[in-house]
Every structure is written in C-alpha cells, then in structure tokens.
C-alpha cells in the first residue's frame, strides 16, 4: 500500500491503507527544559507497571543523549541497519524508511533487543559528548565549548503508521479511531514479540509473567475524560503538553499542538526518516550538536532552534509556552490577548488562564504591619 507521510513530505510503503483517526493523541516536549528528574517515569510506573513481569518496564523513560538509551542503543542499532540515508534539499526524505527497506521475509527493518538491553535504563547519564580526554573524548579542558548532552523523555509515539501494528501477525494491535492511541489487545496477544522487534523506538515490551507484550496506553482512561496523561500532568518542569495534532493540511492556529508543530515549526518528530509518523514532538535542545540533532529531528532542526531563540518576540507562542503544565485538562484551543493566555476544552469552556509574564512586585524589606523582615520567598 502507498500512504502519505507528511513528516517526510512524500508517499511511502506501508502494509496497510492510510487511515487517519478522527483525532490524533500527541505530546510536545520542550527539551531545553527537561532536567531528567524522572518524575514522569515514576508517575507512569506507579500508575501502570508495578505488577509482576513489569519490574524493568518503563513505558515512559528519560534517557541521556547521545549515549543513553532504553533499551541500549535502540536508536543507533536501527540507524546502523538502515545505513546512510539522505534528505533532499527541499526537505523531502530521499532515503528509505524501515518499511521500504524490510527484508523479503519481514514487515519492517528491525532488530530484537535482548534482556540485557533493557537492564540499564539510563546508562551514560550525564556523560558529555564532544572534545576529548587527551586525544579523544569528552575532555574538560578543550575550548571552545563543544561538550553537550541533553535529556530525552520518551513515551510511545502512538504513530500514524505504527511498526508494531504492522508487524503483528495476529492483528492484535489496533489504533483507536477516537484518539489515535495504539493499543495491544491484552486478550488476543500471544507474546510472539514481533512488535518488540519491529518498533524502532522500542516501546513495545514483553511481560514474561503474563506472556503478553505491553506498551504505553497513552493514559487513555484519562484522555477519554479530557485529562492529560500522567507523565504530562506530573512533569514538574512543565516541559510537556498533550493535545491532538492535525495533519498539516488541516492544522488550526488555535490548537496548541498544531501551533507548536505546524504554525511555528518549533517542535519536530524524532527520527521521522524511519517512516512511522510518530506523534511525540520535541523542541530541540539549543546547546546540543547540530549534526546530531539533524540526524534525530531531520533538516528542520536548525530552523526550529532559530525560531525558539526568537520566542520572546512572539507573545502568542510565549503565552502558549506558559499554558504548558498549567492545567491537567486537555487544551483543545487557546488564545493570547491582553497579556493573558487562556486554554479551552473541546466544548470551548475555559480551562485555565495564566499571565504571559508574571507581574513583578517590589516591596520594602521591612514589613511595618507585621513588624518583620520580608524574605524573598513566595
């Protein structure tokens, strides 16, 4: 079958027909703000994966790039198999996706992780890349500054063209019409592990106790009630916002996710060249290596960073950024006016209203009324 993949700006091969859900679950992450506190990871873990067979299972994880990976080197191993591929100058992907480069006997180009690969959720944490000790790597004396790392929080991307769904010979994986969330039917799965093997992001995981594969469920019980997922609402850095993304031809400027992804081009899908149209989007980190970011986020990475640097000149985008983490409800539309950003639910009712810039108040050090010294604490 031939399907349209807007992230690589071309049609591509996929085992099933194109069928976009009525709404598509999506999360935008601002990687410039993530501090790898793992609160999202634990929020997810305590909600969903605390039982037998899930001991080492993290549907949400935060890893340190470039060295960290859960499972180990998941990204390098699929890129290595794919080999060198290129983007055309016009932003179209000229290389092959994992579906187009699938061996004759398989539905996708993939690799099977081993148990050991899952046992080090964040190896390489805080290890710098760049420069070199003596002749080679991560020196602390080399100038100018070329040491970099960044944190990459990851959930299932509830892809438009999921490789897990494509690979399941039992058709036990389905994508929901109402929100695009991809689920493994826990009553039909027989634990063949084809999804674990096929998902290039390695977000299908095998439960050896139930002998069934499991994955991030997008917190669908919350989403059905208009509430954002646990990993989003528990993010103390307020780096995330969950909403519904439209394809670019149907994008709405007042939809927070559409605004960040389509209108401003601030947030980018990761490894779009793999061909899955993943629906988690990242504002790239400003201080990381640009070649690495281009590999991860495609040719738009440079532009996204440039636009992020100009954010102070755009009160609407600024307003939207402060709406992130300001409500546990799903914001379907927003507006910014008179210095205030407001988020609305699907019915158009107001969910939250926040000042774009917090007011600054100056007070005398001595509080006459209380006869006490004021401290600069909120």
């Amino acid at each position: 079958m031939t399907v349209k993949n807007w992230q690589i700006k071309r049609d591509m091969a996929y085992p099933y027909e194109e069928h976009r859900p009525r709404k598509q679950w999506a999360i935008v992450f601002d990687l410039n703000k993530c501090i790898a506190c793992q609160t999202c990871t634990l929020a997810c873990k305590t909600t969903w994966t605390s039982a037998r067979g899930q001991e080492y299972m993290f549907w949400n994880n935060v890893e340190t790039k470039p060295y960290g990976g859960y499972p180990l080197a998941w990204d390098l191993r699929v890129l290595e198999r794919l080999g060198r591929q290129d983007w055309a100058k016009n932003g179209t992907y000229g290389g092959k996706t994992i579906f187009e480069s699938a061996p004759a006997n398989e539905r996708a180009l993939h690799w099977a992780p081993s148990d050991e690969d899952w046992m080090y959720p964040n190896v390489g944490e805080d290890d710098c890349a760049g420069g070199s000790v003596g002749a080679g790597g991560a020196a602390f004396t080399t100038m100018p500054h070329d040491k970099w790392f960044f944190y990459l929080p990851r959930t299932c991307a509830h892809c438009t063209y999921p490789a897990c769904l494509a690979a399941c010979p039992r058709k036990a994986i389905y994508k929901r019409e109402q929100d695009g969330i991809v689920l493994i039917d826990q009553s039909r799965c027989k634990g063949y592990g084809e999804c674990v093997r096929a998902c290039p992001y390695k977000k299908s995981m095998y439960n050896p106790y139930t002998r069934v594969s499991e994955k991030c469920v997008g917190c669908y019980p919350a989403v059905e009630q208009g509430i954002q997922p646990q990993c989003v609402v528990n993010c103390i850095g307020k780096i995330r916002i969950m909403g519904f993304i439209s394809p670019p031809w149907a994008a709405r400027d007042d939809n927070p996710v559409d605004y960040l992804v389509h209108k401003k081009g601030l947030a980018l899908p990761y490894y779009p060249q793999l061909g899955l149209e993943p629906n988690i989007y990242y504002i790239p980190p400003m201080h990381a290596d640009r070649a690495y970011l281009a590999q991860m986020f495609g040719p738009q990475a440079e532009g996204a960073i440039a636009r992020y640097r100009e954010l102070a000149k755009d009160p609407v985008a600024q307003g939207l950024m402060v709406l992130m983490g300001s409500t546990d409800r799903i914001i379907h539309s927003f507006k910014v006016e008179k210095g205030e950003a407001t988020g609305f639910n699907e019915a158009g009712a107001e969910l939250t209203r926040v000042p774009v810039t917090e007011p600054v108040v100056e007070r005398a050090a001595w509080d006459e009324g209380a006869s006490a010294t004021r401290h600069n604490t909120p």
């Binding site: 037998r52 067979g53 039992r170 826990q186 095998y206 439960n207 050896p208 002998r211 069934v212």
Partner: protein
C-alpha cells in the same frame, strides 16, 4: 506472495502431491487416556508416515530457512479417542520464558466442516474454519513444574513490592489473585497465555491472524525429548462440540506445523505442511 515463493510453492505442492499418502488410523484395544510416546501401541501401529514441511512461505514474518523438513506421524484410535505420535528432529529443548526465548511446539490441524474438499491448508478461511491442537514445550513445563514466576526466570531480580502484596500487610486483609490481577492486564482480560497451561491448546481459526484459543475439550498431550528428537503424543476425543468430529470408518484431513524455539521460531515463523494429508479411521 513473491514470484519466488509462488515457484517454490508450486514445485513443492506438486512433489508433495506425488509423495503424499493417506495416514491410516487403525482401531486398537489400548488405553489412550494418557498420552505416552513410549506406549507399546506405537510399536504395533502402522509405520510412521513421513510428512514434508517447509518454512511457512505465505505471510510475513516468515522463517528464513526450513528448520524442520519432516515430521513423522503415527496415529491410532480406540473408538472414543484418537492419539497421534509426532516425531521430529530438534537439536535442543526450548521452553521459552524470558524475552526473546521461544518454545518448541507442534500442531495438528483438522477441517471443522466435513467435506471432500478441505479448506485452505493455511489455517482455513472465512466460514471454512479449522480446528487446531497445539502443543508447546512451554505449556508442558507449566503442567510439570508450574508456570514460571519472574523470579524463576530471573533469579537475581529484585523488587521492593508488588501491588496488594507487601512484606508487611499491616492491617490489610490478605489479598489473592482476584485483587492482584487488575494490575496484570493479560490476566485481567482473561488471556489464556497469562495462566498456567496443561500442555495443549485447542484453537479454532478461519485464516491467518484469526486463531482463537478455545476452552479445553478434553485433549491431552505429552512430549519427551531425547537424542535430538521430540516425540509428542496428542490425544483428543473423536467428537468435539463446535470442532472437528471424527468417526470410526470415517475420513478426514490433517495439516501439521512445527516450531523450533531455539531457531527463534514463533507465530508465523514456523514450518508447515503445504497440503492436507488425507487420513482414514479404521473400524
């Protein structure tokens, strides 16, 4: 199916057609209530029929090679039960368990509807269901040594606590599986995979991707492995409600599949018969 596979398929189907003989299933006076590959009845039964297998060629994912080229089949019945002895070469025992480890397995397939023209041999088709008896070494392990816990599979595993299962339950009343299962979605949804098995699954299918495990209808199985060879006996009642029904003096068709877990075979990565083996039951 690629042209290459079509060619292989046609070549194999035609040779198999030439080679394929019917399997004779005589009526015997023997106790078939317990599956036993060492039972005397197999010594006196008609010689084993060699059935050719090939790497499943129809749908992806497929095995890269044919790991099991042949399964030997013997069968007898006692008027109420039919027993099959299936023998094939496998260099090691594979019982699955941790991630990426798969089980040795074998399956026999029957058409559900009685007809001179059997359904498609590749797991039937819509409205042309097949009845499958699927033995797995992994399930036999459940029956013999219990369903493995994560601690059995990963002896060094460490965990602080599981939901509803604390070292000190304090004032909480003791909790059982009913309270814990909601935390294990495979069990909560009643997936047969998630519970201890007896050794053999009964499955109804109407084509690829449709197989569905049925409540047991009294089939039993027992495999033994020695000297690089699995010998598995599958016993089933002649009659089964909603499934294939056999009768003394009657005919049926058989299909076979073998999985070598050690070769990473699971699901559609298997070796299968490319055509039905006719079978005749004595009376």
């Amino acid at each position: 199916m690629s042209l290459r596979n079509v060619l292989i398929f046609s070549a194999l189907a035609s040779t198999a057609a030439l080679a394929q003989q019917p399997l004779s299933i005589p009526l015997v006076k023997a106790d078939l209530s317990k599956p036993d590959a060492a039972a005397a009845v197999w010594g006196s039964a008609p010689a084993a029929l060699n059935v050719m297998l090939m790497g499943q060629p129809m749908i992806t994912p497929r095995p890269e090679t044919t790991s099991t080229a042949e399964v030997k089949v013997q069968a007898v019945h006692d008027g109420t039960r039919v027993a099959f002895l299936l023998t094939w070469k496998d260099p090691e025992v594979s019982e699955a368990g941790p991630l990426g480890k798969f089980s040795d397995a074998v399956a026999i397939q029957f058409p559900v509807k009685e007809s001179d023209v059997p359904p498609p041999v590749m797991m039937g088709a819509k409205d042309l269901p097949v009845h499958i008896f699927h033995w797995r070494a992994q399930y036999q392990r459940d029956a013999e040594r219990g369903k493995p816990t994560p601690k059995d599979l990963y002896p060094n595993l460490n965990v602080d606590m599981y939901p509803m299962e604390f070292k000190d339950m304090g004032a909480l009343p003791a909790k059982g599986d009913a309270e814990r299962d909601p935390y294990s979605p495979g069990r909560a949804t009643g997936n047969p995979q998630a519970y201890a098995k007896s050794g053999v699954d009964e499955i109804i299918a109407e084509g690829f991707s449709t197989s569905s495990v049925q409540e047991g209808h009294g089939s039993l199985a027992k495999g033994t492995w020695a000297n690089g060879e699995w010998r598995v006996v599958i016993v089933r009642p002649l009659k089964s409600e909603g499934g294939n029904v056999l009768a003394p003096g009657g005919k049926t068709f058989l299909g076979f599949a073998v999985w070598q877990g050690g070769q990473g075979e699971v699901g559609s990565r298997k070796c299968v018969t490319m055509m039905w083996t006719p079978a005749e039951l004595g009376k």
